[in-house]
């Protein structure tokens, strides 16, 4: 075999691949770099080294309030989607009934439909029903967004599930709620947690649903950053963006440590 040409090809692929890795990491490094600048301009490499733009961010109630609203919406939305979604998955997998496929498709369809359309749909619906641009409208939209991520992860976990253990528990006299809580849930927990984390993140980073359902006071962090970027661009934006990147790093490392990224359904 022609070894030199093989090596040459491997080199080309390797260099190209590491170039792509650089492409993936560069914008994040640039944002983090700019956030430490002393100057008032967005320059990379940064001029000097200071935390003053972080100080601007953490003392600005607009950013702090937006941060908490984002956490609340994503947290509550994930909780509601878990409480509603996980039992529903159980029925979809365990019971054969007409229309089961259509119901599954309905639950999963927000995955592929444009989120902009979901955003305007919630806006119009809430306008008609009189809860437009409220916390509840925002929460409803985000819960719809989160639901399919939890359902997908739970459905996969349930399909790999060992049914005999459930039957054994019931043969030994456990009631259905007991079996569910003590046998089924512990086994599907990693998948459900992965789905929940993914759903939380999807809500946490969302702009398209939030932007149509926000007011000047009811505003999530990504929308706050988005509005700010369009108005004026100064390094405080880099600082608040960098904070969300640190948040992302923590999330990713946590998932990788506890579940393993490749197992967490990141495909």
């Amino acid at each position: 075999m022609d070894r030199t040409s093989t090596n040459w090809g491997v080199w080309v692929v390797s260099i190209a691949a590491w170039g792509v890795v650089l492409f993936l990491i560069a914008p994040l490094i640039v944002v983090i770099g700019v956030s430490f600048t002393e100057s008032n301009f967005l320059r990379f490499p940064p001029e000097g080294l200071s935390l003053k733009w972080y100080d601007v961010v953490v003392t600005n109630p607009l950013y702090v309030n937006a941060f908490w609203l984002s956490i609340q919406i994503a947290g509550l939305g994930t909780l509601i989607a878990l409480v509603l979604g996980v039992p529903a998955c159980l029925i979809l997998v365990r019971k054969k009934f007409p229309g089961a496929q259509a119901v599954s498709a309905l639950f999963l369809s927000p995955l592929i439909l444009p989120t902009v359309v979901l955003g305007v749909a919630i806006l119009q619906y809430a306008s008609a029903l009189g809860f437009v641009r409220t916390f509840w409208a925002l929460l409803a939209g985000h819960t719809v967004l989160i639901m399919p991520y939890i359902m997908r992860a739970t459905l996969v976990s349930l399909s790999e599930f060992d049914l005999a253990s459930e039957e054994a528990a019931q043969d030994l006299g456990a009631t259905t709620p007991q079996t569910l809580w003590l046998v089924t849930l512990p086994q599907i927990k990693p998948g459900v947690i992965a789905g929940g984390l993914l759903g939380f993140v999807i809500s946490w980073i969302n702009v398209e649903v939030s932007i149509f359902n926000s007011t000047s006071t009811l505003i999530t962090l990504p929308v706050r950053i988005f509005n700010q970027v369009q108005a004026t661009v100064d390094p405080s934006m880099a600082a608040v963006s960098a904070v969300t990147i640190y948040f992302a790093v923590i999330c990713v490392l946590l998932i990788d440590y506890f579940i393993g990224l490749e197992k967490a359904g990141m495909k």
Partner: protein
Amino acid sequence: MSAAAGQSSATGGMFISRAQATIFLGGALLFMLLFFVGPMLMVIWSSLQPPSGGTFANYERVYNDGYYWRVLLNTLRISMWVTITTFILGYTLSYYMNFHLKSPMARRAIYIIVVLPLFTSNIVRSFGWIVLLGRDGLINDGMRIVGLTDGPVQLLYTSGSIIVALSYVMLPFMVLTVNSIFQNINPSVIEASRDLGAGPIVTFLKVTFPLSLPGVVAGSLIVFTLSVSAYVTPSIMSGGRVAVMPILIYDYYMVQLDFSMGATLAVLLLATTIAIIGVYLFILRRYSNR
């Protein structure tokens, strides 16, 4: 729910009564009907309620006005370039990760770098590109130093800058989708091809690439549909100079406050997405029938 009460359910596992099943499924179903199906139907209904003219007046207006077609075509054109770019970059990286990268540590590190951007907002991901592509940005500085240009070049606020930033945003989806297919390719198939005398390029073209095609098609579908409906990245990268469908929808809803026309464009975007998925399923069926 066909399984009668008192019997074990058809698929085995624990016994779930009819009442329990209704409660378990009913909650989620009711929620989705109230806050997903209801709102979506409302958008469709609203698109059929034009302020003046017949039921389909909005659709006639869109059909007859070249502007909307140009915006739709521009959206599809940008999405196509984004799909091609992410395919070239993503496939290269994924191929390297699965067939040439030996160190598990390096593999894990790259995996984290691929996934990390997915955990930050599109706005944050695009923001870095504003700094990089600006008049005094790193790219312009670099081109000046190398001698490619004399003064700053307009890189930002063009279709090109939308394609670059959107490709960046979409790249992880392509890498992850192609990865999941590569992982399922049996390495002995590739070894067999090499043992039978095929060179690396022939092996790639005749064995590896055809086997990975389902991943390429699935990844392209995800990237294309997400690109067509992307609002944030085109919005900040265009600087108001380039219009795509989601920007137009935002404009009708939030600036012109013409919900009916906005709804019409939203339905059009929805139909476009469904059409793309339809084409994908058609290709998939033909491919699996071979």
